[in-house]
């Protein structure tokens, strides 16, 4: 089993970490370079974690577990206006990122109000491309209950956050409800506020675990990190993508950030060592996000094999 970890350390000799991970059969998911510091999101076989820990210690780096690594979470606010941003939404998104998740912030076009709140088909489909969603609501329980219509049709687990305490049975369509973080006009800095952010991360972690366990019942033909590695090798144009993360990982596939019409055939033609083509074991379709390519790996029950 692959263990998701985050390495933070100096730029000097960080290539030793990269080489070790590759030798161990792990994957580098993301590489963030900030002047002389580097942050690597890594998947490493759990039995070899001690070797990586020893190297990190030798390089005076820090290696922490990143439970959300390799997942994409949507942080949804009713709009992108000053009422919801920057404090609550950015704090939650940033906190999820620190735990390894790839976070996208999404403001609905008409999500405001109590009676008039709406979500459209495009927004729903875009949220469904993620592995989980966090909906950020306000301070009045009446409104939070009423706004259930916004996430009722979303098929990924939805963690709802808001101010007041509300019993779980009153929000049947939410995966979990995390109270004590409604609309606020200051940054989260008190211990209680940071504690609430921790609870959101735990809740998202549980939501992802639920998805992982349902995938385990009918495993994917191959793992998304392996697809990511092969696409990176065989579609070299991906390294010229302006996006900070040219291939985003999901639990069930990847999103390749290249124009769909120009590169779909190249992505389909990606071949694995076993001789199988990506187009045979995955559906390649246009993503709702810009003009990207969405790769969804088929499960073993559909292809009849796992490699």
């Amino acid at each position: 089993m692959l263990e998701p970890v985050m390495f933070t350390g100096g730029l000097y000799k960080h290539d030793l970490v990269v080489e070790l991970v590759e030798d161990l059969g792990g994957y580098i998911l993301q590489r963030n370079l900030t002047q002389t510091e580097i942050i690597l999101l890594i998947l490493v076989p759990s039995e070899d974690l001690a070797v990586l820990q020893a190297l990190a210690k030798e390089l005076r780096g820090e290696l922490v577990r990143a439970p959300l690594a390799g997942t994409e979470v949507a942080v949804v606010t009713p709009t992108l206006a000053i009422h919801h941003l920057p404090h609550t939404a950015c704090d939650i998104a940033e906190y999820l990122r620190r735990h390894g998740s790839k976070t996208n912030m999404l403001g609905l076009a008409r999500g405001v109000g109590r009676e008039i709140a709406q979500i459209n088909e495009y927004e729903t489909a875009l949220i469904n491309e993620h592995d989980a969603a966090v909906f950020i609501f306000g301070n009045f329980q009446e409104c939070i209950k009423k706004k259930e219509s916004l996430y009722r049709n979303i098929s990924v687990p939805v963690v709802v956050t808001g101010g007041p305490e509300i019993e779980a049975k009153e929000l049947p369509y939410a995966f979990e409800y995390v109270p004590a973080i409604g609309r606020v006009a200051h940054r989260a800095r008190k211990a209680t506020e940071i504690g609430t952010l921790d609870r959101i991360v735990e809740s998202v972690g549980r939501a992802l675990d639920k998805t992982r366990s349902s995938i385990a019942k009918d495993p994917l033909t191959t793992s998304p990190p392996r697809v990511m590695d092969s696409v990176r090798e065989q579609v070299p144009d991906v390294q010229f993508s302006y996006s900070p993360l040219p291939i985003a990982l999901n639990l069930t596939g990847v999103r390749v950030k290249l124009p769909y019409s120009a590169f779909k055939d190249a992505v389909k033609a990606v071949t694995f060592d076993e001789g199988v083509k990506l187009g045979e074991i995955a559906t390649i379709k246009p993503s709702r996000m810009k003009d990207y390519i969405l790769v969804r790996i088929l499960s073993a029950s559909e292809t009849g094999f796992v490699f």
């Binding site: 009713p78 709009t79 206006a81 000053i82 009422h83 919801h84 405001v112 109000g113 109590r114 009676e115 008039i116 709140a117 306000g138 301070n139 009045f140 329980q141 009446e142 409104c143 101010g163 007041p164 305490e165 409604g182 609309r183 606020v184 006009a185 200051h186």
Partner: protein
């Protein structure tokens, strides 16, 4: 402790948490915009079932307009007057006011904080900025920020010493406005 003399907030239904949080939120926003000291009393009434959001506030005594002598020291010098700027925040407003009154050719700025005006009349009483108008503008901005976002039917009545702001999802009717006014009056007298 609240810097205001009175700050009451009332929300219908079982929304004690919402009322408490909105109190914090209003304080945060008023503090951010530097308005809190100019408001004496504040009454907030929210009906989440209708739904609408109303704020009634009484302002502290009016703010006098900012003049040249408030932003710097005015000295008589050979050939005119010199203004030594102490408060650079209003520099742009000051220059604009001086240019308008004396013309650009008679206003000279030899150093960052020195302005020399070639004129026989003292500029000390010249108005640099109408702080009251700025304050009312900031107050409207604050009220729009405080009100829940979807409440886009708004009415804002501002007088010299008070303001009354209503925001609702549905169209505002005279009946609704008078009902809200009655509620606020009850809160005032309670």
């Amino acid at each position: 402790m609240d810097p205001m003399e009175v700050f009451k907030i009332e929300v219908t239904g079982q929304e004690e948490f919402g009322a408490k949080k909105y109190r914090e939120l209003i304080m945060d926003i008023l503090q951010d915009l530097g308005l809190i000291r100019s408001i004496g009393r504040l009454y907030v009434y929210v009906d989440i079932h209708k739904p609408f959001f109303a704020v009634y506030g009484l302002l502290r005594s009016g703010i006098p307009p900012l003049t040249v002598k408030d932003v710097g020291d005015v000295l008589r010098v050979a050939g005119g007057y010199q203004v030594k700027i102490n408060d650079e925040e209003h520099m742009a407003d000051l220059l604009r006011a001086l240019w308008e009154r004396y013309g650009r050719e008679r206003v000279e700025q030899p150093a960052r904080d020195i302005v020399i005006i070639a004129s026989d009349t003292s500029p000390s009483e010249l108005m640099v900025a109408d702080l009251e108008a700025e304050f009312l503008q900031d107050l409207t901005d604050a009220l729009v920020r405080v009100a829940p976002e979807g409440f886009r039917n708004r009415r804002n009545i501002m007088t010299k010493d008070s303001f009354f702001f209503i925001a609702a999802e549905e169209s505002l009717t005279p009946v609704m406005v008078s009902e809200i006014k009655g509620k606020i009056r009850e809160m005032e007298n309670a």
